[in-house]
Point group: C2
DNA sequence: GGGTATTTGTTCGTATGTATT
DNA sequence: TAATACATACGAACAAATACC
């Protein structure tokens, strides 16, 4: 992994700072990538030809800067990039990522027209059994899956919403095309659970890691519900940040 | 499980409604408790002496009312009581439960004075290494653990906060006693993870079920940070509801 | 469930060079 | 120059957490 592990002794730069710089270089050169486990402290000490304490000091400095994650009994890991996903009155996937200067992608996995189950109907303010359009979409950032979203709309009001979404890759723009200039969140519920096989597959995460789930209702300017959404986030890669409070 | 499974035929009451009533009685009598798996549809059908479709109709009715959770390939489960925990600008544990007409309890598990780690210091707006008071508290509702909370305060500003909390059982009242008339949330971050041994023990939940974690900063009227808090919720028993949106 | 190997966490002690007083 | 404080570096031993069989 390390191309060159020679340190300069008596150079005026502390050995542990040289090791720190080494590790930073490894990350910049992608020899160390997020989630990767570092060699053990003992092994690093041997490679660098220093005492284990000296390696520990370098690692501690980088942990303090949030670049490493050290776990007793397990090892030291390069910190995964966690995405701060902002949740508030105006939650928009693409705007959210744009703010972080990340390009987001939306992929339509499936869509169907079906009869509204009770809970969904209540959220949308329609009668149970009325036809609804259900969209399943995978959201990615930098090629990594971020969330698996289910979006449900009244099929009467938005019969062509699935095609709009497929073409535009955005709920906001699909709704715009259907004449909804703006919408806001009326309700958000957050919980956590373990993913089923399909969710784990789409989110590319192990089944024994949790997912964060949000259920939300968006309403138009007049307060009429237009979308009921369920978003499943890979909890290891995404944190929700509430704004403004 | 079922004490009596005889149904009255040609009684004017549909068989599936009688079965539905049977199941409700079982829940009221605690023969069926939250999280418990029902016998399979076939087995129930045999016990009641009806066709499986008849049992399905009764289960579907109760699922629609949110009392059962039916999962294909797994079985039917009595829905766990989930607590809707409201999160917003003014999040207060006791007020939250009072709104649901539940009496909450707070138990001080531990408190200590220690040097502030970098992240904590940043949240509280003090220098790393400054002394802080750390409180570990278990929150319960109806005798069931709801959340395990860590609260960190500046030891300079609130030297006696741990004793106040121990006596009053509430962060809000402890802060009141220290002269903080009001406080609001400035920041909330939500994520999910798996519990460690201690967390699972306190929350009385298995280690393979996830926990919901919120990190928050509360500020006083002048905007000065006064508390950094971490709350760990048993995800199977608590959902977070954002208010107003 | 118990035992073992691995890995990090912690605490001793010792020594040396550098900057400050 | 001498005394002192501090950062750096090494060595050894044990504790605690975790994974694996």
């Amino acid at each position: 992994m390390h191309v060159d592990t020679t340190l300069e002794r008596a150079s005026g730069v502390a050995l542990w700072r040289q090791i720190e710089q080494h590790l930073v270089s490894d990350m910049e050169a992608k020899r160390l990538t997020p989630g990767m486990r570092l060699p053990s402290e003992s092994e690093l000490a041997e490679r660098f030809g220093v005492n284990r304490h000296t390696v520990r000091q370098a690692i501690a400095a980088l942990e303090d800067k949030g670049m490493f994650l050290v776990r007793q009994g397990l090892g030291t890991f390069v910190h995964e990039h966690v995405l701060d996903y902002s949740v508030g009155r105006r939650t928009r996937f693409n705007e959210n990522l744009a703010r972080l200067q990340i390009e987001g992608q939306s992929e339509l996995l499936a869509s169907a027209i079906e009869a509204a189950p009770t809970q969904t109907a209540r959220a949308l303010g329609i009668r149970a059994g009325q036809p609804v359009v259900r969209i399943l979409a995978l959201r990615s950032a930098n090629g990594r899956p971020v969330s698996l979203g289910t979006h449900v709309f009244s099929a009467k009001r938005f019969p062509g919403i699935a095609e709009r979404f497929a073409a535009l890759g955005s709920v906001t723009r699909a709704l715009e095309a259907e004449g909804v200039a703006d919408y806001v969140r009326k309700h958000t519920r957050i919980f956590a659970s373990m993913p089923d096989a399909e969710e784990a597959l789409h989110l590319r995460q192990p089944r024994n890691r949790p997912i964060l789930v949000t259920e939300s209702v968006n309403v138009d300017r007049t307060g009429v519900p237009i979308e009921f959404g369920i978003a499943r986030f890979a909890a290891d890669r995404v944190q929700l940040v509430l704004d403004p409070p």
